[in-house]
């Protein structure tokens, strides 16, 4: 049951298909695939490949948002883990570099979880701290420079492939699988939805909320750290200033497009990934169309607005009243 597609996901999947079709109208080779050096290439593959970091962020973010929280620090965590991985890549074996980068993500998650669950700080403020400080930490690690590396092992995470499929896509699929198994294979999913829906009632039912909240922030930061490794591997270097910059907002947007309310409760992992793909499909389409990339931001904003309006209870109330008045 881990990957049972909810009926309510139809809108998101249709939206993705529509945007892909629009992309096809913009660029006639959009769906063309070709195999080169044992790896698939093409605009469609690009959407999945480029969308991988945000999809990873969304996979962690969706759990945080389901508990009625939010994590603004994921972009900064990406910068930290990317900086660590790039700094260690040439001096250590790649498993060491990746493990230390993920370990840093784990610490970041524990910090966020501690602030939110133990100290009771509002999530938006608590994670804002690391959002600001984390980028500074990343710059300290790279000593303010752009650190580059040559290790092909680590570079595989960004540009490699297996069975013709790009490594980032495989990593996202794997993370989705693991997250799905952990969350839906255990009782965690139900308890997260319960705690997000009504924390007081859940606590009075004996749900241990505190540990669960720490766990989701840890998972979110781990996903972010993994995304940071991919981003660094992709360019074979770490730019602490720009790695993951503003991606927390894309991740939140992906989750919201995926139908998870910022008020917590019901969530869907697959639809969060779908949301990330929708965002990337828009990005790619605008790039292919030849419009300036700045245009992208305006389109994204318009999509956020539409999605939020569709979720707004007041708007649906107004629409209902309007229909009643006309009837």
């Amino acid at each position: 049951m881990a990957f049972q597609l909810p009926r309510r996901g139809l809108a998101q999947i249709l939206a993705l298909i529509v945007i892909l079709l629009i992309d096809r109208m913009v660029s006639s080779q959009f769906f063309d695939l070709r195999l080169q050096d044992g790896r698939l290439f093409g605009s469609l593959i690009d959407v999945f490949n480029r969308g991988a970091p945000v999809a990873l962020l969304a996979l962690g973010m969706v759990l945080v948002i389901a508990t009625r929280g939010i994590d603004l620090s994921v972009g900064a965590v990406m910068a930290i883990s990317g900086a660590i991985a790039a700094s260690l890549a040439d001096s250590h074996a790649w498993p060491v570099a990746v493990a230390v980068a993920l370990g840093a993500g784990l610490l970041c998650g524990l910090w966020n979880g501690f602030l939110v669950a133990v100290l009771g700080i509002q999530p938006i403020v608590a994670t804002l701290i690391l959002m600001v400080a984390g980028r500074g930490v990343a710059q300290l690690i790279t000593e303010g420079r752009i650190v580059t590396f040559t290790s092909p092992d680590l570079a595989w995470f960004g540009t490699g492939s297996a069975l013709g499929i790009p490594a980032p896509v495989l990593i996202v699929a794997g993370t989705l699988l693991v997250t799905g198994l952990v969350v839906r294979g255990s009782a965690l999913g139900l308890l997260i939805e319960a705690a997000g829906g009504n924390a007081r009632a859940s606590e009075l039912s004996g749900v241990g909320i505190r540990l669960m909240i720490v766990a989701v922030y840890v998972w979110c930061s781990l996903c972010a750290a993994l995304a940071g490794v991919i981003a660094a591997a992709d360019i074979m270097g770490a730019d602490a200033n720009n790695a993951g910059l503003w991606l927390e907002l894309d991740a939140i947007l992906a989750v919201v497009i995926g139908g998870t309310s910022l008020f917590g409760g019901r969530f869907s992992l697959i639809l969060a990934v779908c949301g990330a793909l929708i965002i990337q499909a828009m990005n790619t389409g605008i790039l292919l169309s030849g419009y300036p990339p700045e245009f992208n931001l305006v389109v994204k904003a318009a999509v956020v607005l539409v999605v939020l309006l569709l979720q707004s209870p007041r708007l649906s109330g107004l629409v209902a009243n309007f229909r009643k008045a006309r009837a």
């Binding site: 049951m1 294979g185 255990s186 009782a187 965690l188 139900l190 308890l191 939805e193 319960a194 829906g197 009504n198 007081r200 009632a201 859940s202 606590e203 009075l204 039912s205 004996g206 749900v207 241990g208 669960m212 409760g265 019901r266």
Partner: protein, 512 residues
């Protein structure tokens, strides 16, 4: 009755006031009369309509029918501001002032004395000092309001309200968070104001205070006026009967006798208490026995339940389950020891509206088993189907979000949530509140059945006839303390009322 006694014209006269929220009649043809210079207590249990009445008088809510006259002239305030302009001021339990501003600034906020548009601080402070001196309050008016005690803040709020030319002063539970000394200070202020001809409407849950200060009492119940009496001529027992419903005394008797000798202790609480919440109590809950908690609103019933369930942490005493000492620091601890708790506030503390009936039912069991031992979907379906059938939950669709069910059915789902954990002790806080009559009887039947199966039950209810009907033992609470226990044949509505009303002289416990 009283009109003949009072020759003068009433200050505030409410006649035939009605207000409905949807199908719920919050106020039904309510009359209320306040004379100048009197302190008038407005009493009633939860949902009696006190707040609605106050909100209509102060323009927060509109009314459906009825008139409000002030000094004989009809008024129709549409906002608190308009009510204030007419001379009706309200001071709420939570003081509505700005703790970060000075006392003087609070007193003159929005009407500071100015010269050429500049606030004259010195003048303001002089006036404020003089104003508060009139209340026998000599404090530094330049200091932040937040530095002072809640009682002083209340007096400042009252002074501000009265200075805004109020003739009617409404005090909504002003004493809830005050200690004895502070209450005295507030009462002195109230008496002084009444002596100046201001009419004071006073809402409280503390009956001692009602008898201390009020001249007259109006009792509401279920949105209806039950009666208006002079305090001096209304015995406490009769007042409580008015508040809780006097028809109760007629519907007693259908109790089922229990053989308590067979019951073994399930949970024992010794000297258990929490400062500021409930005085230490001894409570002994046995298998197959229903213990009822009776008392007025605010007497410490819910506080007792929350301590027993670990929702609040006790700061004194010991707890034991099946004879072994235990620690109850959180609901998780309590659930692990086989306790369950259906809270009074079903919507905010009970249901998870968005989740389905099935998910709501399995929640506590799943929490008890832990994250790593998930109930399979088949097990969940089986549990949900069993309880939907057993408790006759309607509509019988386990996949419907619980928020769409009626109150009674939501309550049944919450019962199912705990029954699924096979608890040894179930705490039910107002299990029949807001539930229609049919479901009401069913839930009482369920309580009895559960008890027959060996469950220990602790039940809170404001409905005394209900408590009488199912309890084997009734613990009576007053002023946040357990004050007596009634047992077996000693349980009837009048004994409970007597125990609630007792001010020390009446025997509190009637052992069988």
């Amino acid at each position: 009755m009283q009109q003949a006694v009072e020759g003068r014209q009433p200050l505030l006269e409410v006649r035939g006031l009605s207000k409905s929220f949807g199908i719920l009649r919050a106020l039904d043809q309510v009359d209320f009369t306040l004379h100048a210079g009197e302190i008038h207590a407005l009493l009633g249990e939860n949902g009696a309509g006190k707040s609605t009445l106050i909100k209509v008088i102060t323009g927060v809510l509109s009314r459906d029918a009825g008139t409000i006259r002030l000094d004989g002239g009809e008024i129709e305030p549409r906002s608190v501001k308009e009510a204030l302009a007419e001379g009706i001021a309200t001071v709420y339990q939570e003081v509505n002032l700005l703790p970060n501003l000075s006392v003087a600034q609070n007193l003159y906020l929005g009407r500071q004395p100015t010269r050429f548009g500049i606030v004259r601080d010195g003048e303001m402070q002089r006036r404020a000092t003089a104003l508060l001196a009139g209340y026998d309050l000599h404090i530094d008016v330049g200091a932040q309001l937040g530095h002072y005690s809640v009682a002083i803040q209340h007096v400042v709020a009252i002074a501000r309200a009265v200075d805004l030319s109020a003739r009617v002063l409404i005090l909504d539970e002003p004493t809830a968070s005050l200690d004895r000394h502070e209450v005295d200070m507030l009462f002195r202020t109230m008496r002084a104001l009444a002596a100046r001809g201001i009419g004071i409407l006073f809402v409280t849950h503390f009956l001692d205070q009602v008898y201390d200060i009020s001249d007259r009492i109006t009792v509401l119940r279920n949105g209806r006026l039950i009666g208006e009496r002079m305090t001096a001529s209304l015995p406490r027992l009769e007042l409580i009967q008015m508040m809780l419903g006097r028809e109760l005394s007629e519907t007693t008797g259908e109790r089922v006798a229990h053989d308590r000798s067979a019951s073994t202790p399930c949970a024992t609480f010794t000297n258990y208490g929490k400062r500021g919440s409930i005085a230490p109590f001894d409570l002994d809950l046995r298998h197959g026995e229903v213990v009822g908690l009776a008392g007025l609103l605010g007497s410490g019933r819910t506080e007792t339940a929350r301590l027993v369930f670990g929702a609040d942490r006790a700061d004194s005493g010991k707890a034991a389950v099946e004879g072994k000492p235990v620690r109850l620091h959180s609901p998780r601890d309590a659930v692990r020891h086989g306790f369950g708790y259906c809270p009074e506030e079903r919507k905010t503390d009970g249901i998870i509206a968005e989740l389905t009936v099935r998910e709501n039912i399995v929640l506590a069991l799943q929490a008890k088993r832990g994250i790593t031992r998930p109930l399979s979907r088949r097990e969940q379906d089986e549990i949900a189907a069993r309880f939907v059938k057993l408790l006759d939950i309607r509509p019988p669709d386990p996949e419907r979000p619980i928020g769409l069910l009626s109150g009674g059915n939501q309550q049944k789902v919450l019962l199912a949530r705990w029954l699924a954990t096979e608890p040894r002790l179930l705490v039910l806080d107002e299990p029949t509140r807001g539930i229609d009559v049919g479901a009401h009887a069913e839930i009482i039947r369920l309580i009895r059945e559960l008890c027959d199966r060996g469950l220990a039950l602790l039940v809170i209810s404001s409905e005394l006839d209900e408590i009488v009907a199912y309890s084997d033992r009734v613990v009576v609470l007053r002023d946040r303390a357990h004050v007596g226990t009634l047992q077996d044949d000693g349980i009837d509505v009048s004994s409970i009322l007597a125990a609630i009303a007792a001010d020390g002289s009446v025997p509190a416990a009637a052992e069988a």
